[in-house]
């Protein structure tokens, strides 16, 4: 079952050939998808041959096969992790019962909503990133961008498969709608706000893949615990792909930092103006980009108190991050969790029922994971012998969802008046001038082994290839 059948029109490891109705439905959706990719996928890539990985099976030996592939010939398909025999529901009210192979009627609407929301982020990020290829800092980075893009496309396939197979006509309609919405479009935007923000430059792209794709990782991890077995199996395989996206972000930002530190040492300065004149992105600007992407992303976890979150958990639809590794009762009834609130001019912690605070629980898990990566960026600075450090802003900084929406809080957690915020916002979030400066650095570099001035080369290449390998063959 783990081997993927590429002789089929839609490569799959789910015996699609045996389910004729489903196969017909997906084959009808496929042209719409390809058309969407033509219209909204990466620009000017039709003829380029890109060194991409393609799964031929979902086991370790087969899932990462590398080769030069024409982007327009990329084969998107449906890959599920193998089923685990005898898997039981391991949290919520149905704890200990067999997992569901089909959608129970009472959870149908909620599950559909979860799958559609997850599915919508996948094409959205492709749309957000479609122009980046024109300003790629190297072939290596261009290849990584395209890999991210095709895998986001495949993640859309994964969600549409679930919609078609398990949600009948509603599911097919949702599948169509996923191809109709457009990132940033006022009439028909993508569902989540962070996926309607533009990704205008490569620093934004790296920050997005570090912070926002990590949100994807945490959502997928929570769904991989689901009692709805097809969703759990699908998301488990998506997680293997998602790891690459976070790698692109983490290593991308690290390389920007490395280059900046190199220039700081050569010029013996930390003056942003001098560093900008030298063509690199100063650390304060990096900090502002970090503040922006971090704060926008933690909003994606939803309101700090949510009855939906409680229902999703108790009914077994969505677990916690690493649910299986936690040692508690996996029911959480009667337990509490601390969430932030504003009391006058101060942030205070309030104990609320844990079930209602599960969005906050996942957000806090996410924050811990994000902070660890920022510390690894700081090691790059420390290794260069410099005293500067990047920090993650306070959880209440620049929030637009939940209790903290609209409250003005500084990166170190002080509640501010609107006037105080206005006066200093440009110190904390990228200003128009910052964005214009970063945009001014963006220029296409496509000679193998060459890199834009503002970014260091990677430590190693992809799939043990050298850094100056021809990752993209242009027609």
């Amino acid at each position: 079952m783990s081997t993927i059948d590429y002789s089929e029109k839609i490569p799959n490891n789910v015996n699609l050939g045996e389910d004729r109705a489903l196969k017909r439905a997906l084959e009808q959706w496929q042209p719409g998808y390809l058309q969407w990719w033509q219209e909204m996928g990466p620009v000017e890539t039709t003829d380029a041959q890109v060194y991409l990985r393609t799964a031929v099976s979902v086991d370790p030996q087969g899932w990462a096969q590398f080769g030069h592939v024409k982007m327009s010939d990329y084969r998107w398909g449906i890959f599920l992790n193998p089923a685990q025999e005898g898997r039981k529901i391991h949290f919520g009210d149905h704890l200990g019962e067999d997992v569901w192979q089909d959608v129970p009627g009472e959870h149908r609407a909620n599950l559909r909503r979860i799958i559609v929301t997850q599915g919508d982020t996948e094409p959205a990020s492709v749309e957000q990133q479609r122009h980046l290829g024109q300003t790629a800092p190297s072939q290596y980075d261009l290849r990584n961008l395209f890999q991210v893009n095709v895998e986001e496309g495949r993640h859309l396939w994964a969600m549409v498969y679930l919609l078609h197979k398990h949600f009948g006509r509603d599911g097919r309609e949702e599948g169509e709608a996923l191809l109709q919405r457009r990132s940033g479009e006022t009439d028909n935007p993508r569902i989540l706000q962070a996926f309607n923000e533009p990704t205008p430059d490569w620093l934004s792209f790296f920050m997005f893949t570090y912070f926002t794709d990590r949100d994807g990782k945490f959502q997928l991890c929570a769904l991989a615990e689901s009692s709805f077995e097809p969703l759990a199996r699908t998301t488990k395989f998506m997680l293997t792909e998602e790891a690459h996206h976070m790698f692109v972000g983490e290593s991308g930002v690290a390389r920007v930092i490395q280059r900046t530190c190199q220039l700081m040492n050569e010029l013996k300065t930390d003056d942003p103006a001098r560093l900008r004149a030298a063509g690199v992105i100063d650390l304060p600007t990096l900090q502002r980009y970090l503040n922006f992407h971090f704060s926008v992303t933690i909003d994606l976890f939803g309101a700090d108190q949510s009855s939906n979150a409680a229902i999703f958990y108790s009914s077994g639809l969505k677990g916690r991050y690493e649910e299986g590794r936690r040692v508690d009762d996996h029911l959480l009834k009667g337990q509490t969790y601390k969430v932030l609130a504003v009391d006058g001019t101060q942030l205070v912690e309030r104990e609320v029922p844990m079930l209602n605070a599960l969005n906050e629980v996942l957000r806090d898990d996410y924050i811990r994971d994000s902070v660890a990566g920022v510390e690894r960026w700081n090691r790059v600075i420390a290794k260069a012998g410099l005293p500067h450090r990047l920090t993650v802003p306070h959880k209440a900084f620049h929030r637009n969802i939940g209790t903290l929406a609209g409250v003005k809080v500084s990166p170190d957690g002080l509640v501010l008046t609107a006037t105080e915020w206005q006066a200093r916002a440009d110190e904390w979030l990228p200003s128009a001038a910052d964005r214009a400066f970063v945009a001014s650095l963006m220029g296409r570099v496509v000679e193998p082994g060459h890199f834009a001035h503002w970014i260091a080369p990677p430590a190693i290449g992809i799939n043990r290839q050298p850094v100056d390998f021809e990752y993209v063959r242009f027609a």
């Binding site: 370790p60 898997r87 293997t240 790698f247 290593s251 040692v327």
Partner: protein
């Protein structure tokens, strides 16, 4: 504990390492590893050399390439999980001259080779061990979580009135299948979370009771647990698991995973001899084997097998099971106790007693019916192995040949921590 399942050639291993500077901690390798050799804390992802079987399943899925790092290492110097968790960068490969020394055990010092003599297979007459029935290494999601055992007893086995405090703890599994053999260990998951809000890592303890139960015919087992109040450097630290265990009341629940271990197992044929060398709580598996043999003997179950025990502690008061040991008949077990801190007495270590009793040990080294078991603090390994080597050489035996035979036949086992 050192499981030492890695393929060994001339005391060398090809150790699999993850580059902490390139790794993004995405967990893909840990999720992929079929033998659960990859683990992590909030700093690093690392490979346990005693579990890694070099299957390479983790290599293609790694998004960064950080997974693809290898070092030729003499087995005793293999980087431990703890060491790797502390790294910011990969260490340089060992220089050729250090490697050259290590590959020829005859010329190398024992310091380089002590643990590498440990067998990876049990003796031929060992019973089949069940491993990884519960916990992250178990098959199937249903058994990934720890299981509950109830405390059926908790008694102190060192003399009261001193700062050391060792307990004999009996855990009952009720109707839950949890078969263990002498020499196996189990993992205890302490309750609560660590400073970072994560569940505690499980701690491994050797089973101190025989296979048919601490109380024969019941589904229970016992552990020997020393309350940890300071670390190996003498700094004050409260061991999370040991204090949890030592403070348990009868009826309390404990979270358990395991069992673990498939090589440190006793021979079962009725003429087999056991040589047991241990310090402190390293006595747990020795107590299990001894008790197994005691029950068999009472039932008329063995013929001529002999038991030889070298047991060290700082003082008699600190020696676990000191009282019960005294009451075992001399024709059943030959006991040699070494005390390294008895006031007014010279320091005596187990290896000193082994050299004194070379005449008893030498024939056993050459006897295919005799198996050797070493358990205790890691620091004892070198001393014990060099004592065995001296015993062999005095008797005109070629140590590398003897040691190679012991290892091949599953007759020499080291379990140190």
């Amino acid at each position: 504990m050192s499981g030492l399942a890695t393929p060994v050639a001339g005391g060398m291993i090809r150790q699999h390492l993850i580059d902490p500077e390139i790794c993004i901690r995405c967990n893909t390798c840990e999720a992929t590893c079929p033998v659960d050799a990859i683990t992590h804390d909030d700093r690093n992802y690392v490979v346990d050399a005693s579990k890694c079987n070099l299957c390479m399943a983790c290599v293609p899925p790694c998004p960064t390439g950080s997974i693809d790092n290898w070092r030729e290492m003499p087995l005793p110097r293999a980087y431990s999980v703890q060491e790797q968790l502390g790294w910011d960068v990969l260490p340089e490969p060992l220089p050729a001259e250090e490697l050259g020394e290590a590959v020829t055990p005859t010329t190398a010092t024992t310091a380089l080779t002590a643990a590498s003599w440990s067998a990876t297979l049990p003796p031929w007459s060992a019973a089949h061990a069940y491993t990884n029935l519960y916990g992250p290494g178990a098959k199937g999601t249903a058994r990934q979580s720890p299981v509950r055992a109830a405390v059926a007893g908790n008694v102190r086995v060192t003399e009261v009135g001193h700062d050391y405090d060792t307990h004999h703890i009996v855990l009952d599994f009720g109707a839950l299948p949890f078969p263990v053999l002498e020499g196996q260990s189990i993992g205890i998951v302490p309750p609560g979370v660590d400073a970072h809000g994560r569940p505690h890592h499980p701690r491994q303890y050797s089973v101190a009771s025989p296979r048919d139960g601490e109380r024969a015919g019941y589904n229970n087992l016992s552990l020997t647990v020393k309350r940890v109040l300071e670390d190996h450097q003498g700094q004050p630290v409260r061991g999370v698991a040991s204090n949890h265990l030592c403070d348990l009341q009868v009826g309390d629940a404990v979270q358990v995973i395991g069992p673990f271990g498939a090589s440190f197992l006793m021979p079962n044929h009725p003429k087999s001899h056991l040589v047991m060398i241990c310090t402190g709580t390293g006595s747990a598996p020795m107590r299990a084997m001894t008790e197994r043999r005691r029950r068999l003997r009472r039932a008329g179950g063995f013929e001529s097998g002999r038991l030889l025990l070298f047991f060290g502690a700082r003082t008699a008061q600190e020696l676990p099971y000191f009282g019960p040991l005294q009451s075992l008949p001399g024709d059943f077990i030959d006991i040699h106790l070494a005390f390294s801190r008895t006031p007014g007495q010279p320091r005596v270590y187990v290896q000193d007693l082994m050299r004194q009793h070379a005449a008893k040990l030498a024939p056993l080294l050459a006897d295919p019916d005799a198996s050797f078991y070493v358990c205790g603090l890691r620091a004892m390994e070198d001393g014990v192995i060099s004592a065995l080597r001296d015993v062999a050489q005095q008797a005109g035996l070629d140590w590398p040949t003897v040691a190679g035979t012991l290892q091949r036949e599953g007759r020499l086992h080291l379990e140190t921590y």
